[in-house]
């Protein structure tokens, strides 16, 4: 205990040696003197003293060793004591200023947490390599049709076979046909009939990815071609686990898919989430019956992946494919317009759609981190300046500069540690929230983990910034003129600190402006999206997806089955109306078919323009609430045998019949037979709420049918409560009809808005954090300013300044800081705004009203933040100010 008061100087090794020597010399000399005093000669005395002592050299070595050990232990103990003392003092000091501590810890927690969460997601989605060997060699390939402006067209499986045969730069290539929620097979014989999401794979699919099975084997090439033993299936890990409990014995068994037997060859590994994590089975594309998807060149269904040979560049692959596609276009009339190929690294192809959003998010969150660092720094700075007196006192009673600096470092570390722990919690919750919020919006969600490296990095950054800014004033404080400090006229020493603080606040406000502009733009864009008229009334609609099996219901008779199902559902009590379409709104455009007015002249070398075509039932538009602008919708009377009629949407009418009523006009398609337009309907957003409608042609499914059905029912009450009775109505027609999915359009609306909502929520949060941190920054500076200039303010009041005048003094200072920050921030925001353009809907990145709103918000924040300090300034008593003299 006493050591805390009297710090014994530590003894060096040399000191110890000298001390031991001196102690021994003192002993021997004292003994000699005593003996000589008793009458011995000097010689005899020395000999006797040495003999009585024993082995002097051994004793010396031994004593030195013991003393060295003592000293080491003492140092260690002193160090620990000091550390404990520092920690105790830090905690006490931090508790003495709870506002500072809470704000700093929260700031750190937000900065660390938000950054770790966003970095973790970005790292998982964008940076983790694909789970295939040598993923950098993999590229995705699309067919290009320059005349149609199609740069990323699906590939014809027949073209793919030719590419594969002619390739030389690519080690391998393969294709697949898969759409999420689209391609599937009906599994029967395992309880309730199930529709199972299936990828139809072409030769080279597995070998290009160099995928290996977990159990069993993958199909050989001869098992993936038409006419070969191709009735085989490979299961995904998840499907295998869920349906067969992960039993190896599944290999060699036979499953009934679409009514036919398929032999199970093997099971993929758990991490094989390609083409989608929701793919459950892999079946050779060759098993696709011709009547469903004809095996002809113009049918372009395949996605293609290729593996470049080692040492080959992507440009060489592009060059090679350019030649191959040009030759095929010259050789086959069907390929005439498809004269090129787009080649993109597979990783980029998989993450491309979210890349912009994630990178913008990353930029925004980096701004949050910068603000957090600046905030902690300026808080530290203000605090350290405020503590200059306290530090001066400690110096005057003997604390060394080193000791004080160590104490301040400890304090910063304690703060950073608290912030780090809170930040970990924020990061965990944040990452989970982000994944939940982005459900279905992000590819490769399975790769996302809270990144400890990132967390440590961010913690380190905020720690260092805290240290640097906490230490700079400490260094100054410990070396300043103590007398001056104690006289409390420390104003002179803080002018540089003041300037630094101003700069920090201005930087902070600039960051806040950038974040607020981002938040403003996202919010406006989101509101625009919410106000979009999708072209139908999404409430009270329930959709049921299924595919009709033509083997069961007959090549032509299935259309009657289709009709019967719709009629049956219309009879269900609570169903107001029912109709069907191939693809529900927001669920896709449907296949493209050439539909042009009969008078349309095809120019030389031009392909007949093709437009998305939807197959629908009678009563469909009445069901979903789309306005028929002219003519009529399909009637039960329009059926096979009667003349084919079509309905077009407004966009189509505007393109080909501007200013005219299209009803009664005639179109032609594959053959010369004219097709009459019987109606025009309002535009429906088919692919996405943010994508305006294309010209679209509606064909009656009873006249030219497709087996993929989305049956839509308008219900009187909550549509979800009707799901079972509607499904039972379908099953009352065919007990074995597999149902792919059941959903409401409210769900789809939510799903479609999920990504913009995510961006809006996150940017809103970042923007709010930005404004709050900015307000804290301004408040800190002003509060400090008022404290520092009490005397001056008091003097002014004594000389007759009004309360209002004094308050304005402070507010004006706040506004001038805000003005600088806003100016810089707006410039940064304008420079960065072009990067968010791709994420916005219906609002330009330089939207003036958003910028004005942000300026107003910042001014308001600055005003609010200056209110308390201004009041305090106005309340300064001239007497108190004088007395401080």
């Amino acid at each position: 205990m006493t050591r805390h008061v009297f710090q014994f100087p530590w003894r060096s090794r040399i000191d110890i040696r000298r001390d031991v020597d001196e102690e021994l010399r003192f002993h021997l000399e004292s003994r000699e003197q005593e003996l000589m005093a008793g009458g011995s000669s000097a010689e005899a005395a020395r000999t006797l003293a040495l003999r009585e002592f024993g082995d002097v050299d051994d004793a010396r070595a031994c004593l030195q060793h013991i003393d060295d050990t003592i000293e080491t232990t003492r140092r260690r103990r002193d160090y620990m004591n000091d550390l404990i003392q520092d920690l105790k003092y830090s905690v006490r000091a931090l508790r003495a200023t709870p506002t500072f501590t809470i704000v700093a810890v929260l700031t750190l927690a937000l900065g660390i947490g938000a950054n770790t969460a966003v970095f973790s997601v970005v790292h998982g989605v964008l940076q983790q390599p694909l789970p295939f060997p040598h993923p950098e060699q993999l590229v995705k390939i699309w067919s290009v049709n320059p005349t149609a402006g199609m740069l990323k067209g699906q590939v014809s499986p027949i073209d793919l076979d030719d590419w594969r045969a002619q390739r030389s730069r690519m080690a391998d290539m393969g294709g697949w046909y898969f759409t999420d929620g689209g391609t599937g097979m009906d599994v029967t014989g395992l309880g309730e009939p199930q529709r199972v999401s299936t990828a139809f794979v072409m030769p080279g699919f597995f070998s290009t990815l160099q995928a290996t099975p977990l159990v069993g084997r993958l199909p050989r090439e001869d098992e993936m071609v038409r006419g070969g033993p191709d009735k085989v299936v490979v299961l995904s890990y998840g499907y295998w686990q869920r349906n067969f409990g992960g039993a190896d014995s599944i290999v060699g068994k036979t499953l009934t898919l679409n009514g036919g037997p398929f032999r199970v060859l093997g099971v993929m590994r758990r991490d094989f989430a390609f083409p989608s994590p929701r793919t459950e089975m892999f079946v050779p594309y060759s098993t696709f019956p011709d009547r469903a998807v004809p095996h002809i060149r113009p049918v372009r269904t395949a996605d293609v992946v290729a593996r470049m040979k080692p040492g080959t560049t992507i440009d060489q692959v592009r060059a090679e494919l350019a030649v191959i596609t040009k030759n095929l276009a010259a050789q086959y009339p069907d390929d005439a317009a498809w004269t090129g190929a787009t080649v993109v690294p597979l990783h980029e192809a998989m993450t491309g759609s979210v890349q912009t959003a994630l990178l913008v998010l990353l930029a925004a969150v980096t701004f949050v981190l910068l603000m957090a660092c600046v905030n902690v720094a300026s808080l530290q700075l203000a605090r350290a300046t405020a503590r200059e007196r306290e530090i001066a006192i400690r110096v005057s009673i003997g604390a060394t500069a080193g000791r004080i600096i160590r104490q301040l470092i400890t304090e910063s570390l304690v703060l950073a540690l608290a912030g780090g722990i809170a930040g970990c919690a924020v990061a965990l919750v944040g990452t989970r929230t982000l994944i939940a919020l982005s459900a279905g919006q992000l590819p490769r969600v399975e790769e996302i983990h809270v990144d400890v490296v990132v967390m440590l990095f961010v913690l380190g950054v905020s720690l260092v910034s805290g240290l640097v800014f906490g230490l700079a004033p400490a260094l100054r404080a410990s070396s300043v003129d103590i007398q001056g400090m104690l006289r409390a006229s420390s104003r002179s020493s803080t002018s540089t600190g003041g300037r630094l603080r101003n700069a920090l606040v201005i930087a902070q406000l600039a960051f806040a402006v950038v974040l607020a502009v981002g938040a403003g733009l996202m919010t406006r864009s989101f509101r625009e999206l919410l106000n979009v008229d999708p072209g139908f009334k999404p409430d009270h609609l329930l959709a049921v997806n299924f595919s009709i099996n033509t083997t069961r219901h007959g090549d032509t008779a299935w259309q009657n089955y289709y009709n019967n199902v719709i009629q049956r559902v219309r009879l269900v009590p609570g169903v107001v109306a029912a109709g069907a379409a191939q693809y529900a709104p927001f669920r896709g455009m449907g296949e493209r078919n050439p539909f042009v007015p009969v008078s349309y002249e095809v120019k030389a070398g031009e392909e007949v323009p093709a437009f998305p075509t939807q197959r629908i039932s009678d009563g469909y538009f009445a069901t979903i609430g789309t306005r028929v602008l002219s003519g009529r919708e399909f009637l039960p009377a329009d059926r096979a045998g009667t003349p084919t009629v079509v309905i077009v949407n407004e966009a189509y009418a505007r393109k080909f019949f501007p200013g005219q009523d299209p009803v009664g006009k005639q179109l032609r398609s594959f053959d010369a037979v004219p097709i009459t337009i019987v109606g025009m309907v309002g535009n429906i957003r088919q692919s996405d709420v943010s994508v305006p409608s294309e010209p679209l042609v509606y064909v009656n499914n009873m006249q030219n049918g497709r087996v993929k059905v989305t049956l839509v029912s308008r219900t009187r009450d909550n549509p979800l409560t009707m799901a079972n009775s509607i499904r039972d109505a379908i099953w009352s027609v065919d007990r074995d009809q597999p149902i792919t999915s059941i959903f409401t359009f409210d769900d789809i609306m939510n799903e479609t808005l999920a990504k913009p909502r995510l961006m809006t929520v996150l940017f809103g949060a970042f923007g709010t954090i930005g404004l709050v941190l900015g307000a804290i920054g301004i408040y800190g500076v002003l509060a400090f300013l008022v404290t520092q200039r009490r005397r001056e303010i008091g003097l002014r009041i004594a000389l007759g300044a009004t309360e209002r005048g004094v308050m304005m003094l402070v507010v004006r200072r706040a506004l001038s800081l805000a003005a600088s920050g806003v100016t810089i921030g707006i410039v940064i925001a304008l420079v960065l705004s072009r990067f968010v353009g791709a994420l916005l809907y219906g609002v330009t990145p330089t939207d003036p009203s958003t910028y004005l709103a942000v300026i107003a918000a910042l001014a308001a924040v600055a005003g609010l933040a200056s209110f308390i300090p201004a009041r305090r300034a106005a309340g300064v008593s001239p007497l108190v100010a004088m007395r401080q003299e």
């Binding site: 001390d19 001196e22 102690e23 021994l24 003192f26 002993h27 004292s30 003994r31 009585e52 002592f53 024993g54 082995d55 002097v56 051994d58 004793a59 031994c62 004593l63 013991i66 003393d67 050990t69 003592i70 232990t73």
Partner: protein
């Protein structure tokens, strides 16, 4: 601190040194003189082990050392018993007495 038979001598020296310092702070030479006078020729103790004992006791926290001035104004290292040392002395003393009693109980004719 239990006594192991092998440490008998060491332990003996420790208790002698502690007992000596119980009179008050003194430098190493004074400690050796004092012990030498008390034990006379009965125990032939050299000075070296006594110094080792002093430093060892310092390490154990039983004594503290401080430089001071001797009777004839020379710099000397003075040792002082700490509260821990005093406690240690008490414990060792009673252990020694029990030991001695036990040995005497055997040696005395019944």
């Amino acid at each position: 601190m239990a006594h192991e038979p092998m440490d008998l001598l060491k332990g003996t020296l420790d208790v002698l040194v502690l007992r000596t310092l119980a009179w008050g702070p003194m430098h190493g030479y004074a400690v050796t003189r004092w012990i030498r006078e008390r034990t006379g020729d009965a125990l032939q103790i050299e000075d070296a082990p006594l110094y080792k004992a002093l430093h060892r006791l310092e390490q154990a926290g039983c004594v503290t050392a401080e430089w001071g001035l001797s009777e004839n104004n020379r710099r000397a290292r003075f040792y002082r018993l700490t509260p821990a040392g005093r406690k240690q002395l008490k414990a060792e003393e009673s252990a020694w007495r029990r030991y001695a009693t036990a040995v005497f109980a055997v040696l005395e004719p019944a």
